[in-house]
């Protein structure tokens, strides 16, 4: 069916109108402001200690053990506090509900000492037993937690979660007394403390859950232990948090209130930022066409993100089961041109499966653009100059950006390899069903790390992992991942992981395309919000500085691209 003629015209009109507006943004008459050309829109600082931001979606579940999305996580980590919390700049674990911890020499036993005097918002003391109960609840298969895997480093956690073991007391987490928690791990896990900053590991109030069931997270029932508590939850309208006076570090919480809006329309959210209705439009909330020119503004913040955009290949379908075909597709892709032309340089090209920035990790050589090599590979596969190559499809979920990238890839493959490729799009849920069910040939995908370690990427490509979704299976790869898991020496462990990534790239069930970056808009009077590799921002450390002009901004709030 043809769309009415005016649709593209109208879209063009609104977009160009928006661009004009944005272009004039600096000169717009902001009451009481002048010379604000450096900033995008209003920079009038609020006089109250209220921080407003776009959470981009309604938090679905406020139950930390059950949730699985960033909008939910942002709210949950303001409401609850784990044993450790993430540093707002580096995300390194710093003391939270536990004020210190001991690690055994073999790295497999942790003992956490809880802070004295920490309380739930209903007045009850937070105990080590709360953590034990919360974690075992997450692991209990009947709970149906999606993220139980975060706890799989703990002894017997997986067996209990996957119903191979029914006795919860054998799971390696135990309250030694009210203020001491012992955790035993299956193997030394250098990033274990990082895992504890994840929302799945937050404590939950047992008595409230047992009393109210699913309805325990309603604002009238919920009991929290974090820096903020719920003030009001207006469905699809706003989510308001107030400072929690019962929180142990309340003296250092500099906001009286946080208001989160669930605006999923990117243009609307960015408009709200420009008009000064919100102080922060997080990464992912800015429409792609606006990114190139927003770079001129000082309140547009860029940071490396631990995420990679890639194409995944269904290796169970001929001719993609042939490794030479997969290598040819990989080598024929000119990532640099794609990123410069299609993405206007807003994201760096990437030829590895793991993202950058892991301490001590030396990645294997990245996949390079080499059309000659690609044609040789294709000939080795039995399709010299693409002759007789069957047509296949690139599957994307419906989105303008994905389509433009797919069309560029399609053109590159046609140009370098002379193979026929089509692009097909599906709406989100159908696309998910197709990729998980291996009902595709080549599909757009991306992966976002959960913790700062290459294993958060490499683990998913193990044989049979639910996120593998390529049908690819390599005994060598699985063996290396297992070896790395058991390795106690961090440096050797990283070397093994690097070898595993080399195996993966060589066998090419994936085609890396670009490295994600966080791109967010933060008003200049907001302090304590830094770009981080996990795009996670502990709200406890955020403050509003009405006198921001006289206080210089910290230098590390943005990075240059490339």
């Amino acid at each position: 069916m043809r769309a009415p003629r005016w649709v593209p015209v109208a879209a063009l009109l609104t977009t160009s109108a928006w661009l004009v507006a944005a272009g004039c943004g600096g000169r717009a008459a902001v009451p009481g402001e002048s010379g604000s050309a450096r900033y995008f829109g209003s920079i009038r600082a609020p006089q109250d200690r209220v921080f407003r931001f776009n959470n981009m979606a309604e938090p679905e579940k406020l139950d930390p053990g059950l949730m699985s999305g960033q909008p939910d996580g942002r709210i949950a980590r303001a409401l609850f506090e784990g044993l450790v919390v993430a540093d707002p700049r580096t995300l390194d674990p710093i003391p939270g509900q536990a004020y210190r911890w001991d690690v055994s020499a073999n790295g497999r036993r942790y003992v956490f000492h809880l802070r004295p005097g920490i309380r739930w918002s209903n007045g009850r003391a937070v105990t080590a037993g709360d953590f034990e109960w919360a974690w075992k609840r997450v692991l209990d298969p009947a709970t149906g937690s999606r993220y139980a895997g975060i706890l799989s480093a703990i002894e017997n956690a997986d067996s209990f979660n996957q119903k191979r073991l029914t006795d919860a007391s054998q799971v390696g987490v135990r309250a030694l007394d009210d203020s001491t928690l012992e955790v035993r791990l299956t193997s030394p896990t250098p990033y274990f403390l990082h895992l504890l900053t994840f929302y799945t590991c937050l404590p939950v109030p047992r008595e409230v859950i047992e009393r109210f069931g699913d309805r325990w997270t309603r604002s009238e029932n919920i009991v929290v232990n974090g820096p903020f508590k719920i003030h009001a939850w207006k469905l699809r309208s706003s989510f308001e948090l107030d400072k929690n006076p019962a929180y142990w570090d309340a003296a250092n919480v500099k906001l009286d209130r946080i208001i989160a809006y669930p605006v999923d329309d990117l243009t609307t959210g960015t408009n709200m930022y420009k008009a000064g209705v919100i102080d922060w439009e997080p990464s992912g909330g800015i429409p792609a066409p606006f990114l190139p020119f927003l770079r001129a503004y000082a309140d547009f913040k860029v940071g490396r993100q631990q995420a990679v955009y890639f194409y995944s290949i269904n290796v169970t379908r001929p001719p993609l089961d042939n490794v030479w075909v997969r290598r040819a597709l990989n080598h024929a892709l000119d990532r640099a041109t794609l990123c410069n032309k299609v993405l206007k340089g807003t994201r760096p090209p990437w030829g590895l499966f793991c993202p950058s920035g892991y301490d001590g990790y030396t990645p294997p050589p990245p996949i390079a653009y080499d059309p000659e090599e690609a044609r040789r590979d294709l000939a080795k596969a039995g399709y010299p100059d693409g002759k007789g190559f069957p047509k296949f499809e690139i599957l994307i979920n419906t989105s303008e950006d994905h389509r433009r990238i797919a069309e560029a890839v399609q053109a590159m493959w046609a140009r370098e390899l002379h193979i026929p490729v089509a692009v097909s799009n599906q709406e989100w849920a159908s696309y998910l069903a197709a990729t998980t069910g291996l009902k595709y040939e080549v599909a757009r995908r991306s992966w976002i790390g959960d913790y700062p370690d290459p294993s958060t990427f490499l683990d998913i490509m193990r044989t049979g992992d639910g996120n593998n979704r390529t049908g690819w299976s390599s005994a060598t790869y699985d063996r290396l991942i297992g070896e790395a898991r058991r390795e106690a020496d961090p440096a050797r462990r990283m070397q093994i992981l690097s070898r595993a990534e080399a195996v993966l790239l060589d066998d090419a069930p994936v085609i890396p395309i670009y490295h994600y970056v966080t791109m967010e808009l933060v008003k200049p009077y907001v302090r304590g919000l830094y770009p981080t590799v996990l795009d996670y921002h502990p709200l406890k450390f955020v403050s509003i500085d009405p006198d921001w002009r006289s206080h210089p901004e910290p230098a590390d709030t943005t990075v240059a691209l490339r």
Binding site: A10, T14, A17, V20, A21, G25, A28, A29, V30, G41, S42, E58, E60, K61, S68, G69, P141, A142, T143, G144, R146, A148, N161, Q162, K163, D214, R215, W216, T217, R218, K234, L235, R236, S237, S238, Y261, P262, V263, D264, D265, T267, T268, G269, N271, M272, K274, A275, G276, V277, W428, A429, S430, L432, A433, T436, S446, D465, G466, N467, R469
Partner: protein, 305 residues
């Protein structure tokens, strides 16, 4: 009259049942399910969730259970938001949609009717042409263009009004203007047409001949009859204005019904979609019935049987 009402009310039941059945099976036929996400959901978690919401039962049993509960307006909790009942979500968001629609319609009447009368009394003058050209523009500009343009001018350039949300009186202005524009234009044109027709009637000439001043002729005598097309238009317009605000709700991030329908369908939130669809359907059916009754009341020639 009474039998008409009884028959129409009884007809509601099978109609809603057909709609509910089609929606139920269409939703289930769509690929994917309510619990999948970009990240894999472990088999044991999916199993636990399916069991909890009864999705592990045979489809026919699920359908039967849904019908029994839907009969008492109990759709269960939303899958995406298990702490909230679908009923509760419908209640909260329909209040917002109704308010938005009511303001838009009120504005459309307050502006459209005087504009139409004014244009009619000065037919073929500059006033008439200006008003009717404006109305033509109003009818032609789709709200997804008008909304962003208003936001651009009034909130991003002049910083007078918030560009989105539904939080205070000032946040009502732009969405109401956007939603009402087309109705203002349509009502103005209808009023003008009705008035022109009436102003040529004999009884108006008589009134003028009696020496009544023009103001009385127009407002007292002509207006009553000239406005009738608008009255009959109000019925379908009300239904449409309340339900046709999906786009406006999206542009202005308003927590109304329409967005639940769209998001619910994308999320495969079965319970929410069924709830919203049945709510819309019920509203539309009842409103059509009210319009039929109103016609009969306004025009004695219409017989209800």
């Amino acid at each position: 009259m009474r039998t008409f009402l009884a028959r129409r009310l009884l007809l509601l039941v099978p109609t809603l049942w057909v709609i509910a059945t089609i929606t139920f099976f269409l939703m289930r036929a769509a690929p994917g399910g309510p619990f999948q996400s970009e990240r894999d959901i472990p088999a044991q978690a999916l199993e636990a969730l399916d069991k909890k919401y009864g999705l592990d039962r045979p489809l026919v049993e699920q359908y039967g259970r849904f019908l029994v509960h839907a009969a008492v307006l109990d759709f269960g909790p939303s899958y995406a938001n298990p702490a909230k009942e679908v009923r509760e979500i419908l209640f909260e968001s329909s209040a917002v949609s109704f308010e938005l629609g009511a303001w838009a319609l009120l504005l459309a009447l307050l502006v459209g009717v005087p504009l139409g009368v004014w244009a009619a009394t000065r037919q073929n003058s500059a006033v008439d042409y200006t008003a009717m050209s404006a109305a033509l523009v109003g009818v032609s500009i789709p709200n997804f263009v008008l909304g962003p343009l208003l936001v651009l001018g009034l909130s991003l350039t002049l910083f007078w009004l918030p560009p989105a949300l539904w939080t205070g009186p000032s946040s009502r202005v732009l969405p109401v203007l956007t939603l009402s524009a087309i109705y203002v234009a349509y009502i103005a044109r209808l009023t003008r047409g009705g008035m022109l027709e009436t102003l040529r009637q004999d009884y108006v000439r008589t009134a003028r001949a009696k020496g009544l001043d023009e103001r009385r002729v127009v407002m007292r005598h002509a207006f009553r009859l000239g406005i009738l097309p608008v009255v009959s238009y109000l019925g379908p317009a009300t239904a449409r204005v309340v339900m046709g605000s999906v786009v406006v709700e999206q542009i202005f991030a308003i927590p109304g019904l329409g967005r639940h329908l769209v998001n619910g369908a994308f999320n495969r939130d079965y319970t929410l979609v069924l709830g919203v669809v049945l709510f819309y359907a019920g509203f539309l059916l009842i409103f059509n019935l009210l319009v039929d009754l109103a016609y009969a009341w306004l025009d004695p020639r219409v017989e209800l049987a």
